[in-house]
Amino acid sequence: MVFNFEIIGIWFLVLMTLSILSYLYGDNPFYKASEHIFVGVSAGYIFALTWWDQVWPNLFGRLFPNYVQAGFDFNIIYVIPLILGIFMLLRLIPSLSWLARISIGYIVGMAAGLKIYVFINSNILMQIQNSAIDFSKSGFEIFNHILILVGVISGLVYFFFSKEHKGVIGRVSKIGIYFLMIKFGASFGFAVMGRISLLIGRFEDLINYSIEDYNYATPVIFTFMIISLLIWSLKQKDNTEDYKG
């Protein structure tokens, strides 16, 4: 038997993993506890990460380069996000909370301006460019390209909002839906594949930690959980019967 921080950590790891997996049986105290721990730990984790990775180097590293060495030069323009950030905090003072709206306005406006260009370029123009057909290729490939063309056009027709889906438009948009459905099916199939892969990774960890080096963490915790879940569900049953009676 060995005890050190690593072993304790691994026992925690196995406990957390199995508690989350217990959700498959149904909502139960183990899952509730691990869910709540997860929420708290992740909030703290992300907060520390945001502070040290974003705010500290990007803001203070630029406003006070002598104190915070982040490899940036002094940049006065970074007073603006400081002010906007403070506006955001003024939310806590009701009489000044309207200032936070300016920060939100800044963010929303900026997002709109940036995205309009990015999406026009990568999603519209690039896709249109890729619709070009190389007719010097084999017959089957040309056929494939034409099929893609038909799919794209009919898919776009499906998205027409100001025309009723009747007559020719109705029929074309129907074809469009077929292409969309095939795409969704493909995404679904790929998702199945990816999720199973992740599960394999998780199970491999559990298998690795069932050996003696880790004081048989997995089997011990697994048995413990099964027993306590059994007791818990029996108790639940008793309670409901009492209630009924």
């Binding site: 498959l24 049986y25 149904g26 990460l49 990775d53 974003q54 180097p57 990007n58 490899g71 990015v118 370029n121 990568s122 690039m126 896709q127 460019q129 890729n130 795409k183 493909a186 995404s187 790929f190 998702a191 199945v192 594949m193 990816g194 199973i196 892969s197 992740l198 599960l199 394999i200 990774g201 998780r202 199970f203 491999e204 298998i207």
Partner: protein, 298 residues
């Protein structure tokens, strides 16, 4: 009989969960139970061929953009690629775009070092850079001015003192870019901001869920093939394994001839994956039969 089928239609979710769990667990505990031959996807082959066309001494930029949660899918690809590149004597440059990526990169490199197959040195054969905040901004920066983004490597050594960094100024100085990604920023950003405008060949290994979104880029040649999820990793791993065994027999100067080459991790996991997929298809068929009968009933 009919009643049983109808009952199957409303099967308790927990039974499905249990069966899926077992179908993954059993092949993992006993990998020899089922042994399936691996196929070859066209896109995997394109990736392998594009890497094979590189020459001794070429420079490849590898971008790590995945974290621990998607490690099972992407990590084997990264190890496979590193094996492939070091066998060919190619210089490797590693950048990290996700906060957790440096840890992943470190683990991949140490896996290579532990195998003792290659005599690789930090700063000469490969170099790693720490995580930089900014997502696509970092990619744009690499495309334009590498040294503006990175002044020092992960160990804190200035890039001016690193022999491997000689002549590297922007993305055009690399012969190939390889992206490992599990989301944003990932291969789409590399296409849009760096490799397409600057015309540098790019390939990607990503999680399976990203593949449908990336496939238009593959079809148009903006991505040179793609490694799709764990099956893609397994296929690529196998090709690299065969290549390494062949090179070892040919007395390749980069491979340590005394050490054995071990098969990668993804390969062993494929039987579990196959069984689980088969089970899902069975579920779908059973579900449809039950649905057919229940509709007849009404």
């Amino acid at each position: 009989m009919k009643n049983y089928i109808l009952k199957l239609g409303n099967l308790d979710r927990r039974i499905i969960f249990l069966l899926i769990g077992l179908s993954v667990l059993i092949p993992l505990i006993n990998p020899n139970l089922v042994d399936l031959p691996l196929g070859q996807d066209r896109n995997t082959k394109i990736v392998y061929d594009s890497i094979s066309e590189l020459n001794d001494g070429d420079r490849v930029l590898i971008s790590f953009a995945y974290g621990a949660s998607t490690k099972p899918e992407v990590h084997p690809m990264a190890v496979g690629l590193l094996n492939h590149l070091f066998t060919k004597g190619i210089k490797v440059y590693i950048v990290s775009l996700w906060p957790e990526s440096p840890i992943m990169a470190e683990q991949a490199i140490s896996a290579i070092k532990e195998s003792q197959l290659f005599d690789i040195k930090d700063g000469i054969d490969f170099v790693m850079f720490d995580y930089k905040v900014g997502g696509f901004v970092v990619i744009k920066g690499i495309a334009d001015n590498f040294r503006d983004i990175y002044q020092q490597d992960k160990n804190g050594i200035s890039i001016n003192d690193l022999p491997i960094m000689e002549g590297i100024y922007d993305v055009k100085d690399f012969d190939f870019v390889f992206d490992f990604s599990a989301g944003v920023p990932g291969n789409a950003e590399w296409v849009q901001y760096a490799c397409d405008p600057k015309n540098v060949p790019l390939s990607s290994g990503c999680t399976s869920i990203m593949v449908t979104d990336a496939i238009p880029y593959v079809e148009s040649g903006q991505l040179k093939g793609i490694l799709a999820g764990m099956p893609g990793a397994a296929e690529y791993e196998k090709m690299v394994y065969d290549f390494m065994v062949k090179e070892q027999n040919n007395n390749n100067k980069y491979i340590n001839l005394e050490k054995d080459i071990v098969k990668g991790k993804a390969y062993a996991r494929m039987s579990a994956q196959s069984i689980a997929h088969l089970l899902m298809v069975l579920f779908i068929i059973i579900g449809n039969i039950a649905y057919y009968f229940s509709r007849k009933e009404n």
